[in-house]
């Protein structure tokens, strides 16, 4: 029996070595082949999950978003700074003086992958369809568009009901890709069209293969006006971050966006990798439910704001990758942020004094206020941030409890039901300060704290109604001044995602500020 066992072990070991050996050899030849001709090469990007479909407008699909940006075109797109617009399907655009008419001139050399030209009719069809159907993500943004005109094949005019100078920037953000009218205008709903899985697209890459749970393979669209340099772009689904870190170190993937801040130091020492920190105007913020009695007093909100140690949170939770943010509007958007009227600096004694002055008395345990709750969702550092806040608030005599939910449940509780006192959340506040309106204007759907201030509403309306940047900055800075006094929300740290790529490749989206979109991989080039 002993001998049998030994023999068995030998066979298993031998077989596994054989597998390892022969597979390796083949991998070598295969990757050489892939890199021949036209610069070429295969660029593998880590993806967290599956796209919901290959229709870029019917869902708010975070997993599909980077894929769509390489298959489809928007009129214009935000670059990796998330502030500059770069042209995509449109070569130029302009507003009229009072920001009510927005005119796009389309490129004339664009074709769908089935050979049909992309014209202004496609654009009109797409945006009319989005507007009509509230089920589509961008639909609510389209409600201010009174009509879309197509004076000729390559001109599109958006007529706005109310002036909105920020509309063009929102068009460069999310779920605003152009889809082909000749494919989708066939009587069936967009959601049921077979083209959602066998897409007709118009961008630099087209879909070759989709394996659910595994990978999405795009290949160069040879008919695109400015062909991509890569042969293939593969989105490879790796759910676990720790595994993806090893995969990028081993050269099995070439790009990993938003990897954990704790791994920055480790990856920076690897000479085959380049690590950069990509900032987004999506600060982590604390929102107060102004309808909740316990925090309806501005003095309480101010005391809480004074008792948050942002430096400690940035250091302990985010390894100093995400920096403290005191401004009410993200400081990275320099023209619009107000650095004079900000949230108060950390000082627990001052926080206690604010409460004393407002007439609050300490109880036997040393608390002025007790029983407040902070709702957070799991992951991304939120529960840890809440714990540090809880500790410093306790020093100031404010007692809070932390409630952690899973994301989907959290969103239903705080977003749909508004059932919270204090919450922590992230989310995009760019590209334009007009985004402030969606968060703090009376009765807006994303105004989860139910904040309402007539003066703020008026200033926000003024800010939207002109395209003069200096004038707009004035209105938005004034809004931030009021917000800094009333503190319906406050920012804690900014958002920055470390990203890492193999040095075998150059010209990543990050390198194309002012030139190309922030997930446009068509300029990526294999260099060694």
């Amino acid at each position: 029996m002993k001998r049998k066992l030994a023999r068995l072990m030998a066979v298993v070991l031998g077989a596994s070595m054989l597998i390892a050996g022969c597979g390796k050899q083949e991998q070598g030849t295969a990757s050489n082949e892939g890199e021949k001709g036209n610069g070429g090469g295969t660029f593998i990007i880590r993806a967290t999950g599956d796209p919901m479909s290959f229709n870029p407008v019917i869902n708010a699909d975070d997993n599909g978003y980077p894929i769509f940006q390489n298959m489809y075109l928007r009129l214009c797109a935000l670059d990796s700074s998330k502030q500059n617009l770069v042209p995509e399907a449109a070569k130029e655009w302009e507003y009229n003086e009072d920001a009510t008419v927005l005119t796009f001139k389309l490129r004339e050399d664009l074709k769908w992958t089935d050979g049909e030209p992309l014209t202004s009719e496609d654009v009109k069809y797409t945006f009319d369809g989005i507007k009509e159907n509230p089920q589509y993500y961008f639909s609510s943004n389209m409600q201010n568009v009174a009509s879309i005109e197509t004076p000729d094949e390559y001109t599109v005019v958006f007529n706005l009901a109310q002036p909105d100078a920020s509309f063009v920037k929102i068009l460069g953000w999310y779920a605003t890709f152009i889809i082909p009218e000749h494919v989708y205008n066939n009587g069936t709903a967009w959601t049921e069209n077979p083209a959602n899985m066998e897409p007709v697209s118009c961008g630099p890459f087209k879909l070759e293969e989709y394996k659910q749970g595994e990978s999405i393979t795009l290949v160069r669209n040879e008919d695109y006006a400015e062909p991509a340099k890569l042969d293939k772009l593969i989105f490879s689904i790796i759910p676990d971050e720790a595994t993806a870190i090893q995969a990028v170190r081993n050269g099995e993937i070439d790009f990993f966006e938003n990897f954990p801040a704790a791994s920055v130091a480790e990856l920076e020492t690897d000479e085959n990798l380049r690590v950069i920190v990509n900032q987004y105007p999506s600060p982590i913020r604390m929102v107060f439910n102004t309808k909740a009695e316990s925090v309806s007093d501005a003095a309480v909100r101010k005391a809480i704001a004074t008792a948050i140690n942002r430096e400690e949170i940035s250091e302990k939770v985010f390894h100093e990758i995400q920096k403290p943010e005191y401004n009410l509007y993200p400081s990275m958007i320099e023209w619009a942020t107000n650095s004079e009227n900000t949230a108060p600096k950390f000082d627990t004694a001052a926080a206690s004094k604010i409460l004393e002055d407002a007439g609050y008395k300490k109880d036997a345990d040393g608390y002025y206020i007790k029983g407040l709750t902070i709702d957070v969702f799991e992951g991304a550092g939120y529960p840890d941030t809440a714990k540090l806040i809880q500790a410093t608030l306790a020093e100031a005599g404010i007692g809070v409890e932390i409630q952690v939910s899973e994301y989907n449940a959290w969103q239903q509780k705080v977003g749909d039901n508004r059932d919270f006192v204090i919450l922590l959340m992230g989310g995009f506040m760019g590209p334009d300060p007009a985004a402030l309106a969606t968060r703090v204007q009376t009765d807006m759907t994303f105004n989860w704290g139910s904040y309402s201030n007539a003066q703020v509403d008026e200033l926000l309306a003024k800010g939207a109604s002109t395209s003069d940047e200096t004038e707009r900055a004035g209105y938005y800075k004034e809004v931030q001044k009021i917000l800094a006094e009333e503190l319906p929300y406050l920012n804690i740290v900014n958002f920055a995602g470390p990203e890492v790529n193999s040095t075998r490749f150059e010209n990543l989206p990050y390198d194309g500020q002012g030139k190309w979109g922030w997930a446009d991989y068509s300029h990526v080039e294999l260099v060694k």
Partner: protein, 321 residues
């Protein structure tokens, strides 16, 4: 015998229906819903929500939803995923193979290796081999599978560079034929190794203790007294008796095969059922979840039925009545 099988089968079907109805209610009662996923982060436009709820019939009362689901399920139609708009049966079909390949290979290896190790340890009880193998077995038994998996990735992929760290096939190449088989084998080595290592201890302990127990039975002492050779006693009497519990454990592990290797699938990005289920849970994709639960409860019921029958056949002490 026939009566026994029919009765067990009927109990199985009843169990499946009850489990299914319970699952349906529990999932719907859990906070969150698939509409929240479809609408994207930080979006709660009431118009969008109403339009989507109506489209997927989620605005109807729960009992009506259950009845309409059961009606279609009876026809063999598991419905369409709300999130991916694809037939659930198709999605499950794509993933079952990968999971069974991984889970079954590891379960077989672990059962064989663990049992052999256990028998050796029992036959040399108290010796050096017993001490070492018991120690190692306890160590692996207490290791979290995801941690062990990551350590093996760091050792075999990052440091030694022998095996790929994730996936089932090499993305950079599309192999066919034998090269494809070799590619899959190479990719499954580490996940299978991890799973085998964490499964070995249970087979080791069962085999060791049941061999020890059987060896101390009176009839073995009697056989020894007759002067029968130790080898014959072991092969003919001890082994056959001692292997029964191992078969039971193996049978039960087969029942949970379909979703039991979720953590390993996540660590190694293995495209299997466990990950499909986890994704469906976080997205609250009701039809996909119900499909997976249905398949799961059916496989548990069927395997339990088979184990019951096999056991009744092997062990005459169990009556069919």
């Amino acid at each position: 015998m026939k009566k026994f099988v029919i009765r067990r089968a009927l109990t199985g079907i009843l169990t499946i229906i009850i489990v299914f109805a319970l699952n349906f209610v529990i999932i719907q009662m859990a906070p969150g819903d698939p509409i929240t996923t479809l609408m994207g982060k930080e979006n709660n436009s009431p118009e969008m929500r109403a339009a989507l709820e109506e489209k997927y019939g989620l605005d109807k009362p729960l009992p009506m939803q259950l009845v309409s689901y059961l009606q279609t399920a009876m026809k063999g139609d598991l419905g369409t995923s709300i999130i991916y708009n694809r037939p659930v049966s198709e999605m499950i079909g794509e993933k079952v193979g990968a999971t069974v390949l991984l889970g079954l290979t590891a379960a077989l290896l672990a059962a064989v290796i663990g049992t052999i190790m256990g028998i050796f340890a029992a036959r040399r009880q108290g010796g050096a081999y017993d001490a070492v193998s018991s120690g190692v077995s306890y160590a692996f038994n207490s290791m979290p599978a995801f941690w062990l998996g990551l350590m093996l990735i760091i050792l075999f992929s990052s440091i030694l560079g022998w095996f790929p760290s994730y996936g089932m096939t090499d993305n950079r190449a599309s192999y066919t034929g034998m090269a494809y088989v070799a590619d899959v084998l190479k990719h499954m080595f580490l996940p299978v190794l991890t799973l085998t290592l964490v499964l070995i201890p249970q087979y080791f302990r069962i085999a060791k203790s049941s061999v020890l127990q059987t060896s101390n039975e009176d009839f073995i002492t009697t056989l020894r007294a007759t002067g029968m050779s130790e080898k014959k006693i072991f092969n003919k009497y001890i082994f056959r008796n001692a292997i029964l519990p191992t078969i039971t454990i193996f049978g039960i592990s087969m029942a949970y095969l379909i979703t039991g290797v979720t953590l390993i699938e996540i660590v190694f990005a293995w495209p299997g059922m466990g990950r499909l289920m986890m994704t469906a849970i976080t997205q609250r994709d009701y039809p996909t979840l119900m499909g997976i639960y249905l398949i799961m409860s059916i496989s548990v019921a069927v395997v339990m039925l088979i184990v019951d029958i096999v056991y009744a056949m092997l062990d005459p002490r169990i009556r069919y009545e």
